[in-house]
């Protein structure tokens, strides 16, 4: 399976400015979050990129894309109808091809030489099916993620055959239905914000959008349908994701990138200085 296209969603009304934030990358260059995400995609060998944005955001995004502007096509989501609908906007862009999907408010840091997106694409190539990147997630984070469960693929310790996908389950439900062998108690396979999907997912989304529902359809809902129609795997990525949308999310992401780059010593020195000069008494009660 050849993955040549990527879809990045950045249309969520509360998170549309996150990809525009500036960070310093491992080499010490100042880049926007969008640039970093696009670089992750390019490093995986995917060169056709579609970014789903809110109407009116294009100009800011074009600026933020910097040198990569040439490989990006912008598509607007006319109304904020949810995550699944946002992906569906890229239907024409992906056509019948499988595609890599990343969320615009996450940054990824691989623990190996191979970038996260590349790891995922390798698995998709090997198994010839849709694969979602997942990571072990503690139950107190359940309100933030889609969760999958299923048995390990024989002779692999990082690839799971997905049987169940649920968006933000309660711990009660998770404990009853989503326990995955091999994980610590109270830990589940949570989405990493990175997927390789076949175009079949668009059909599943269309089915969801056709149903009248009070709640906005999520990608998890679509993936639940997908898993019943074709093989669908989850891959436990060797890396870490940073959600920029959380409180101090951007700071955490920057620290993580910085500490794994060339300015590690400088950052550590400054941190130590901070620790030494800020006293207990200055903490805001």
């Amino acid at each position: 399976m050849q993955v040549q296209k990527a879809v990045i969603t950045a249309a969520s009304p509360s998170q549309n400015t996150l990809p525009l934030q500036q960070l310093v990358d491992r080499r010490g260059d100042v880049k926007t979050a969008l640039q970093l995400i696009v670089e992750e995609t390019l490093a995986a060998g995917v060169e056709e990129i579609c970014v789903i944005i809110r109407p009116g955001d294009q100009e800011a995004y074009e600026q933020a894309a910097g040198t990569h502007l040439g490989s990006i096509e912008f598509v607007e989501q006319p109304e904020p109808k949810g995550y699944a609908d946002a992906i569906h906007q890229a239907k024409a862009f992906v056509g019948n091809h499988p595609f890599l999907h990343l969320v615009g408010d996450h940054l990824y840091l691989s623990s190996t030489e191979v970038p996260c997106a590349k790891q995922l694409i390798q698995i998709a190539n090997e198994f010839e099916c849709s694969v979602s990147a997942v990571q072990s997630t503690r139950e107190n984070k359940l309100p933030y993620f889609g969760i999958v469960s299923g048995p390990l693929v024989p002779r692999r310790n990082d690839v799971y055959e997905v049987e169940c996908v649920v968006e933000k389950p309660t711990p009660t439900f998770a404990e009853q239905e989503l326990v995955t062998p091999g994980l610590r108690a109270g830990h589940y396979l949570g989405f990493f914000g990175m997927h390789v999907l076949t175009s079949e997912v668009m059909t599943a989304i269309e089915q969801l959008l056709a149903e009248p529902s009070a709640e906005k359809a999520t990608l998890s809902d679509a993936l639940a349908i997908l898993s019943s129609r074709q093989r669908y795997l989850a891959y436990q990525v060797d890396g870490t994701r940073y959600n920029l949308g959380l409180t101090y999310g951007l700071l955490n992401a920057q620290l993580a990138i910085g500490l794994s780059g060339k300015d590690r010593d400088q950052i550590l020195t400054e941190l130590v200085e901070l620790l030494a000069s800020r006293t207990e008494g200055e903490r805001v009660k």
Binding site: R138, E139, N140, K141, L142, P143, T170, P171, T172, F173, A174, E175, Q176, V179, A185, G186
Partner: protein, 1105 residues
């Protein structure tokens, strides 16, 4: 292999279901000890929990029922105090080791056997409780709650629908859940006890139905009795309110949630915990509720949870509290998305989840219920069955069955609409007014089940068949047969297994129904664990309406005649009911309709009105506006307005009336105000009190020497028997039965006349203590001739009921030979001092309870100390009905009362030969005028002869001892330390033989002086001064609301008869008599072993009915 171990280990039903009796029935002492020691070795190495438990119960039964009768008559044994301490601290294994070591060195004895029986029994129940707790925690979906250790880790979020503020009214939506209660057709002999279902899933089946209720004459229509409400509020706290109990509270810290007994809202707190809002893993966490709510709801927001049960009284046997818990848990789980649907009914999976959490909640709240109890969460009629544990279940490999049963809802084809209609048209559902604790009954059932005695095991099998018959009859639509079968169930297997499931009240009602309606009375239906509270009576639909009316009146009348002998918590009521086909269901009320019930506003209005309007939030102000609008509504407005006005305006206080009637009672009965004030002053200054009851620490207390006890256990020589017989024939003896007490322990403070309590069936019906004593008197005179006058000494509390009872029964044919001696002394109870409360709870040995119950108890104790402080230490206890505020002042006064009231003179005048009295407690059932013992007393020539027995573990409260070289009886209260009591092998039975002239002489009187009231009074007063005054704390119940009861420890003073032995001029003898002669029934939990070990039959053999 040992046969008992074979029985325990076998997979074959025919072997496994054999009873202990089949092996131990005729065993010798050595064989029994052999069995016990092999079983003990077996339980130590056996890993299977249920086998271990059965071995423990076998050993307990061997030591309690089989071994004592094989012991030599003249044995005495000591219970090591160390073992007793282990027992109290729930270190059962250590206690057993200690008792077994004593048995090895000293040889077996009755005392040690009683201690071992108790230790094995408690270890058995502890093991079972631990297992259930473990299973509840490991149910999938419950585990995560024990892992959450900090509010920041809270993984639940409120559903967004509940936080959306309506712009017009400024209010958040109100989630309302309505839930039915459950009524069980049959529980296959209490098979819904967790242990039973987990060990014997095949036998665990219940048929129950969800019902809506209305109180006849009060409610115009039936509705789901349980309503719970939840909404998001604009203050970061959790507010709880119970409309029925009139209680509200604000939880501001997480630890408040775990403080169950601080107020009446323990159940709501248990629901918060079990639903995961405040997960149990947070216990001990010191953070604030605001932190937790910030994570779950967002900053600045809180929750309000309100419960309402439509005033259904406690003890309805309809599992109101479990279903209320279920309703609360359901509403909280809906709000946090843990169950699928926010509104409407629940799906099967969700109902199971709610039920599992309700079980958890009951455990957390320290209460217990059966697994069928959350039946009201399910709709309609359902068959609930235990199920075998399969691979993957947490129970697999531990128990045969699963903790959670499976519910099969029976559809409208299986049981037709017509049949459902017929049930409603035939069944009269009532609350008899008794609210009793079912706990002891459930323990008895478990024990009987594990022992598998033939009669009871056959009963269980029959009960299982009866359930099938009920189902068949319902399928066939034959309600008459249903009535027939449920009656058979009640009168057959249920009472075979637990005779205490019924009582005189219930039996009397059934009898009256049969008499009045003949074959139009189709049957009786026991609900829940026992009869007396909620009950069903099935009538021919043609007469049902009339019968319903009639039954309401008859219950009231019957209650009136039994009100002083049985613990009624309220007047009986009749319900209207209908089958509920929804189970639990919810709706989301928004905007103007998001209003709570009127009574909620009546509850919170006073505090809202005290707050200046500008300080109230916009939301609260808007709510107040809508209440005012509701008041103006032309139809229901005046009711609402009346209710609200009632809550803020003062009403005529009934307290003043109560107080004045108490004062009236006190003045009528000659209450000694001067003495009372003296006691108060002494109590406050610390001159008297619990710690001052004790003899000085330098007192030498030792066991008596053999010669100081007259041994009567191996039989009495004929010459004494003849002497006694002659005295009986000559009319030289009379009986004095002490009947002044209200049985504080017997009814746990309910304040009924213990003498009149129909505690057990003899010769076909329930008989009271008084009837038993008279029947023994009758048997003695029938055998030996003569007449024995029988005096019952009463107190103000028991005098009237006893006289009425005797009148009603025509003095049981005794005519003038039964005399009531009216007590002349009463005391007024006082609020205890904090010092005494602390002494009682901290300085004296107390049985530690199971982990969670102990926490609840400690929280209650803190509340009681606050109560004592705020009510005023040593001030008069007047906040209750008068009969609960005054107290009898100890049995010492009862004998002088005979002198003062003229009863003794009356006796002497009538019976010229009268020389002796036999005095005994109301609960010493074996005491009778035994000619041998009487002869021995006559021959001895002492003034007083006391009967003592060898001590068992439960016989606490003093005994016979050498005190500074002088043999006397020492009260338990007076022991310088508790350990000493365990070195005294003889326990005081209080049975006393009195030489009348000797006694008069002690008081400085002669027979002639008895007509001189002034001299008698003086003599009594003088004697009273020489005897110590003890302060005791007794539990009294205060009843309020709908059969709600609070228990308060109150202080009272007593002088005790046994202290007569301390007077040097009184000559005393001590007779060691057989155990059964002196055994006392102090608590109702003793009844079952008392019946099983043959004591009841023994008592029956002493009686002539």
């Amino acid at each position: 292999m040992n046969r008992l171990i074979e029985i325990i280990q076998s997979d074959e039903d025919s072997v496994r279901d054999q009873s202990l009796e089949s092996v131990c029935g005729n065993a010798t002492l050595d064989q029994l000890l052999g069995h016990a020691s092999e079983l003990d070795a077996f339980r130590r190495q056996e890993s299977n929990l249920y086998r271990r438990v059965r071995a423990l119960f076998f050993m307990s039964a061997i030591y309690r029922y089989h071994l004592p009768s094989q012991l030599p008559v003249r044995q005495t044994g000591h219970i090591p105090f160390e073992g007793y301490e282990h027992l109290l601290s729930r270190r059962f294994k250590e206690a057993i080791d200690c008792f077994l070591a004593a048995q090895t060195t000293d040889g077996p004895s009755d005392a040690l056997a009683s201690a071992l029986a108790q230790a094995y029994h408690q270890l058995g129940f502890q093991t079972l409780a631990d297992q259930v707790r473990h299973s509840v925690r490991t149910v999938r979906g419950n585990q995560w709650m024990f892992r959450v250790g900090h509010p920041d880790d809270h993984p639940l979020r409120i559903r967004p629908e509940l936080t959306q503020v309506d712009p017009a009214t400024n209010t958040t939506p109100l989630l309302k859940e309505t839930t039915a209660v459950r009524m069980d057709f049959s529980h296959s002999a209490w098979s819904d006890i967790f242990f039973l279902g987990m060990d014997f899933p095949e036998g665990a089946r219940v048929l129950n139905v969800s019902v809506d209720l209305g109180v006849r004459g009060r409610d115009s229509q039936t509705k789901p009795p349980i309503e719970t409400y939840l909404r998001v509020i604009d203050e970061p706290v959790i507010r709880l309110a119970s409309v029925d109990l009139g209680a509200t509270t604000r939880l501001e810290s997480i630890s408040d949630t775990f403080d169950f007994a601080r107020d009446y809202l323990g159940l709501l707190k248990a629901a918060l915990i079990a639903s995961g809002i405040v997960p149990p893993g947070l216990e001990g966490c010191r953070e604030s509720i605001a932190d937790l709510l910030g994570v779950m709801l967002g900053p600045g927001r809180g929750l309000e949870l309100v419960s309402k049960i439509n005033d259904i009284p406690k003890g309805s046997r309809l599992a109101v509290s479990t279903n209320l818990l279920g309703s609360l848990i359901s509403i909280l789980m809906r709000a946090t998305g843990q169950v699928q649907s926010l509104t409407g009914s629940l799906g099967e999976n969700d109902r199971r989840l709610v039920a599992a959490r309700a079980i958890l909640g009951e455990w957390i709240g320290g209460s217990g219920g059966g697994w069928q109890d959350s039946g009201g969460v399910w709709p309609g009629i359902k068959l609930i069955c235990g199920t075998t544990a399969e691979k993957g279940d947490p129970e697999f490999g531990i128990s045969r069955g699963r903790l959670m049963p499976i519910h099969h809802v029976l559809d409208h084809e299986t049981i037709s609409d017509e049949t459902r209609e017929k049930i409603q048209k035939s069944l009269v559902l009532v609350h008899g007014g008794m609210a009793q604790n079912v706990g002891p009954i459930l323990e008895m059932v478990t024990e009987h089940y594990l022992l598998r005695s033939k009669k009871e095991w056959d009963g269980r099998k029959e009960a299982m068949e009866i359930l099938d018959e009920v189902v068949d009859a319902l399928k066939a639509g034959d309600i008459k047969r249903v009535g027939d079968v449920t009656t058979r169930n009640f009168e057959g297997p249920l009472q075979t297994i637990i005779p205490w499931a019924t009582n005189r009240f219930t039996d009397a009602l059934i009898e009256q129904c049969r008499d009045a309606y003949g074959d139009k009375f189709w049957g009786f239906w026991m609900l829940g664990g026992m009869a007396g509270g909620g009950m069903g009576f099935i009538f021919d639909p043609k007469v049902k309406d009339e019968a319903q009316q009639w039954l309401g009146q008859r219950m009231l009348q019957t209650k009136k005649t039994l009100a002083t002998s049985l613990p009624f918590a309220m007047d009986p009521v009749v319900y209207d009911f209908s089958i509920n086909d929804k189970g639990t269901s919810s709706e989301l009320l928004t905007g103007k309709s998001a209003m709570l019930p009127d009574r909620y506003y009546a509850l919170v209005l006073p505090s809202l009105l005290r707050t200046p309007l500008r300080d109230l939030s916009l939301r609260t102000r808007s709510e107040l506006e809508r209440i005012s609008e509701r008041c103006r509504h032309h139809e229901s407005g005046s009711d609402t307005a009346g209710l609200l006005l009632g809550s803020v305006l003062p009403s005529i206080s009934t307290d003043v009336q109560k107080e004045s009637s108490l004062q009236k009672v006190l003045s009528e009965i000659g209450f000694d105000r001067e003495q009372h004030e003296q006691i108060r002053a002494d109590l406050l200054s610390g001159r008297i009190g619990l710690s001052q009851n004790r003899l000085p620490a330098n007192t030498m207390i030792e066991d008596v020497q053999p010669g100081q006890v007259v041994e009567l256990r191996e039989g009495i020589e004929t010459k004494y028997v003849d002497l006694g017989k002659k005295a009986i024939q000559d009319g030289s003896v009379a009986v004095v039965t002490l009947a002044a007490g209200v049985g504080s322990r017997w009814t746990e403070g309910a304040g009924v006349c213990k003498a009149l309590h129909p505690f057990s069936r003899f010769a076909g019906r329930h008989r009271s203590f008084m009837e038993v004593h008279l029947a023994k008197n009758r048997a003695i005179t029938a055998k030996h001739g003569g007449r024995i006058p029988h005096v019952f000494t009463t107190s103000h509390l028991t005098d009237q009921p006893i006289r009425e009872f005797l009148d009603r029964n025509d003095f049981f044919g005794f005519g003038g030979d039964v005399i009531v001696s009216t007590g002349r002394s009463v005391g007024l109870r006082m609020i205890p001092t904090v010092r005494d409360l602390r002494f009682l709870w901290e300085e004296t040995s107390q049985q530690i309870l199971d982990e969670q119950q102990q926490k609840v108890r400690e929280s209650a104790r803190t509340a009681l100390i606050d109560w004592a402080k705020s009510a005023g230490e040593a001030s008069d206890y007047t906040d209750n009905v008068p009969s609960q505020c005054i107290h009898p002042v100890g049995h010492w006064y009862e004998v002088p009362n005979l002198l003062r009231s003229g009863v003794l003179k009356q006796l002497i005048d009538r019976e010229k030969h009268l020389r002796y009295l036999m005095l005994h407690n109301i609960d010493t059932l074996g005491a009778n005028v035994d000619p041998g013992v009487l002869g021995r007393h006559i021959d001895g020539g002492t003034t007083l002869s006391f009967e003592v027995i060898t001590r068992r573990l439960e016989d606490r409260g003093g005994g016979l001892a050498m005190v500074n070289g002088h043999p006397r009886l020492v009260e338990g209260l007076a022991m310088p330390n508790e350990e000493i009591e365990f070195e005294l092998p003889f326990y005081n039975t209080m049975n006393t033989w009195i030489d009348i002239d000797g006694l008069l002489k002690t008081f400085g009187l002669t027979r002639a002086d008895l007509s001189n009231q002034q001299r008698v009074d003086e003599a009594v007063r003088k004697m009273a001064l020489r005897l110590p005054t003890y302060i005791t704390l007794k539990d009294v119940k205060k009843r309020w609301g709908n059969a709600q009861e609070d228990v308060f420890p109150v202080a009272q003073f007593e002088k005790l008869w046994g202290d007569m032995t301390a007077l040097p001029e009184v000559s005393c003898a001590f007779f060691a008599v057989p155990l059964r002669r002196g055994q006392q029934l102090k608590a109702q939990a003793q009844l079952d072993p008392w019946k099983r070990d043959g004591s009841a039959d023994y008592i029956d053999s002493l009686c002539k009915w």
